[in-house]
């Protein structure tokens, strides 16, 4: 294989995702089972990642946390992608006032520091996944819209697209059946980065306490739980982070392997 990166990346991601989705089967303990007698145990054969301050098995919490995080993040990212690609390609295809309007809104959405906007939305909607989801989608669509729009602009002039006009195809058909499948490649590649970024944002917000709420296990909250015990029980805070890094690494490898030359990176 010419590019081992994609294989390694897929491998890492697959292992983590499988383990996470199958959490109910794989996890050795109930992630919310409080056993004060076993509090703060270091990693061992019985507890791969040790236990936290109320005796919950960290490994199980990490598994369930990863599961929740990954599902939420993938959903959020791809909703944003669909909305953004649709808006962007329509804007690029038709041009005119719609294009300018979408462009302005998208640019403003991107100008805003992401976390600030998400925090503001959480302040209004209340903490929890709902606020995080709204915030991420509110900014996420803009990036895909820009990508899709610029791809559409160059695609529009190609012969196969001009042919659809000559053949009298409706605009809907031209966009959906002919332009979109070509457009979408760069957005999909970019979505690999986006999934990582959004996952880190979700974990970060959960760490701050405004993302996933207790008793839901989430990688960020487990890290937050571990902070007071950093010196005595370092594993609580560090283990979930390692999982996050590995996942991010895997996804980035896939993205890089698919990019073959930083074309998409330059749009960032």
């Amino acid at each position: 294989m010419r590019r081992p990166q994609v294989a390694i990346g897929v491998g890492i991601v697959a292992v983590i995702c499988l383990a996470a989705f199958l959490a109910p089967l794989v996890a050795p303990y109930n992630p919310n089972a409080v056993t004060p007698a076993n509090a703060l145990l270091p990693p061992s054969a019985a507890h791969f990642m040790g236990t936290d301050f109320v005796g919950r098995d960290v490994f199980s919490r990490v598994l369930y946390g990863a599961r929740e995080d990954i599902i939420v993040v993938v959903l959020i990212t791809y909703i944003g992608l669909v909305v953004g690609v649709l808006l962007g390609s329509v804007a690029g295809y038709f041009g005119g006032w719609f294009d300018v309007l979408i462009g302005r809104i998208a640019d403003t959405a991107i100008a805003f520091p992401f976390i600030v906007l998400v925090l503001a939305i959480i302040a209004i909607v209340g903490p929890g996944i709902k606020g995080v989801a709204i915030g991420i989608i509110a900014v996420g669509w803009a990036l895909y819209a820009r990508l899709a729009r610029s791809e559409m602009l160059s695609l529009k002039e190609q012969s196969f697209m001009l042919a659809t006009k000559a053949l009298g195809y409706s605009n809907t058909r031209s966009i959906l059946r002919h332009a979109l499948p070509n457009l979408i490649r760069s957005s999909l590649v970019y979505s690999t980065i986006d999934v990582v970024v959004n996952l880190l944002v979700l974990a970060g917000l959960s760490y701050l306490g405004v993302g996933v709420q207790e008793p839901g296990a989430d990688l960020g909250t487990v890290i937050a739980n571990g902070q007071p015990y950093l010196l005595t029980a370092w594993w609580i805070a560090t283990m979930p982070g390692i999982v996050l890094v590995l996942f991010g690494l895997g996804v980035s490898l896939i993205g890089e392997g698919l990019t073959e030359g930083s074309l998409v990176m330059s749009v960032l």
Partner: protein, 315 residues
Amino acid sequence: MGSYFARRAGVALVQLVGLALIAFSLIHLVPGNPVQEMLGTHATPHNVATVSARLGLNRSLVAQFGSFISGVVTGHMGNSITFGQPISSLIAERFVPSFVLIVYGLALAVVIGVPLAVLSAVRPGGPLDHGVRVFATVSFAMPTFWLGLVLALLFGLKLHWLPVAGYTSGVGGVLRSLTLPAIVLGLSLLVIVVRTLRSTMRKTLSTEFVEAERARGLSTSRIVSHHVMRNAVMPTVTVLAVNIGFLIGGTVVLEQVFQIPGLGSLLFLAVEHRDYPVIETLALMAGTVVVVLSLVADLAQAIMDPRVRLGARAV
């Protein structure tokens, strides 16, 4: 030159207005009644109505926006609901630690990143180049708050080299208390700097005029310092300016991790207490900084690179 400046400034102005609209209308657009959230579930409709009236939320949208804008322009943003004191003084108090942190992080990123990028570009495919790329991929996947915690654990708690919380002023104090968060902040920037600088340098290094210079016998270091760098600097500065928003976001998280009393932790406190005036103001500030910096970066680029200001006519 003047027309480019005018056009670009016009775009920035439109963006600022758009930002103000968004910052203002967040409260009204997002589902849920903000006053209800603020007061909690035990609030009676009467309470909600009273507080709404006090905050001026029952006036027409246009009137509210009007006072929001005049507040921004005059600098009197009203009082913070949580702290009771004027927002402007709150911001003034907490401005310095955040500002210093960002500058420190930027400085680290540039001081370490530029040499790394140069060395990588000059020897593409070499061990350093590969090492840098692996490092970039890995650090991209790292959550900022986690890295901050790990560094705090290693260098603060285990080795006792640096403090892990708080902010002390003065040069020595800053260097001690802000080094760890600045490293984390700088790291993510570093990756961007190295990537951009390296790719623009590679592009320039493979152009014909560089080949011509080599043919004429100029040493690599001369070529790099006199020609390649000039072309590479501007895109990097632009990318940095654009990523300021991301830096600001990182500050919010890091100030929580390291307990620094800056604007980031202020924002977080405001969110916790539903202090909408403060949130609006900070959001607007952050957005403005990004818009202004992008404007400055674009203008600087226009000054240095005539192709930019002449646009289509240049080529």
